[in-house]
Symmetry: C2
Subunit: 215 residues, 2 copies
């Protein structure tokens, strides 16, 4: 069965997945790079960016789960570009000519536009759809593989609320952002639907994995 | 130097230290006992309640730090009793005749009343005071020992915001309460003032310790 998976979704100790003030030079707003330093230090990240080195410990082991078995991604409009990108008909995403996805990517937006084929195997499609509809479309495109749910926080929350997520990996970083978009709002008793594990690592972060109970 | 310490302060994954609907038979509201199961399973708790057994692993090691070196406690009105206790002049706290504190305890309330001497060494004093004033009073009573800050969440938050906390032990439990009183609101960049460690344990909880940087 094709699963819906969330990977490397990083939040602050106070639960924010994104700060305030997102802009072309600030994809995470005032959070800056504080949420993702743990990932930049991994071999996973070095390999993805063509750099040398990177740790191969627990943070790497979790981070690398991002890749295998994925046939498509779903993301929110805020992950695709800064506020207002919909007003630029030439906008092609944060990632330059060759995005790292290398699969079909379904961008949820109330203002769909024609699909864009990028270098390296990524094609961006634009959908105005409910979570269940978007998942059905992405599953068809994934050809039997799993679908990754890329964020941001409100998109993950919407799919969780509808019971559509099979696996979720959340990384909690010991910083307090104070402001931004929370992951956990409105998800009371989410633990009833998942087996949850927590593992803290020497970098100071805590990895939380949520595995959906058989329904 | 007498320190101000927070121990065994337990929150849900979504950051709530107390649920909604606190009442005489529900000190933590709809959270029930879900936040504190980890502690009930420790030798620390067994010893405190006169029971047998209890684990002596990491959860116990953290929990037991609650006791040594404490000369006084400060707590909010919501820790002393259910909503409305101020209307009952005979009310003497949640804990019966012999509360477990065995030191002076300063209860913050806008409606102070005469002090109450209990069995076993606990005396409840009632103060309408700012955090700094309350700490000064408690320090005098502690006779050179440390002062424990007992909660609830809004009281801990107020003392954190004023930079008065020297050590804080927070336990994060993998449940989502959805509603209640949050610990972390309004504490942006708290990490600048503390060295923070995270340790997850086999019970599934994560212990976070905050050690104030030398100021």
């Amino acid at each position: 069965m094709s699963e819906l998976r969330v990977h490397n979704f990083t939040i602050s100790l106070d639960g924010f997945g994104t700060g305030v003030g997102q802009a072309p030079d600030a994809p995470f707003g005032h959070a800056g790079e504080r949420l993702h330093q743990w990932m930049f230090a991994t071999r996973f990240w070095a390999d993805m960016t063509g750099a040398e080195g990177g740790g191969t410990g627990a943070d790497h082991a979790f981070a690398a789960m991002h890749e295998p078995g994925i046939g498509a991604e779903i993301m929110g409009a805020g992950k695709f570009g800064p506020p207002g990108w919909q007003d630029d008909p030439e906008y092609r995403g944060w990632w330059g000519d060759e995005p790292p996805f290398r699969t079909p990517v379904f961008v949820l937006t109330h203002r769909p536009r024609p699909s864009i084929e990028m270098k390296g195997g990524t094609t961006f499609h634009f959908l105005s759809a409910s979570p269940a509809e978007a998942l059905e479309t992405a599953r068809e495109a994934a050809g039997g593989k799993d679908v990754r749910l890329g964020g941001g926080p409100s998109v993950v929350r919407d799919f969780l609320a509808e019971g559509l997520v099979d696996h979720m990996h959340v990384v909690q970083v010991p910083v307090l952002l104070g402001r931004g978009v929370r992951l956990w709002d409105g998800l009371e008793s989410l633990e009833d639907a998942f087996d949850i594990e927590a593992v803290s690592t020497p970098s100071g972060v805590t990895h939380l994995t949520f595995t959906a109970k058989r329904r």
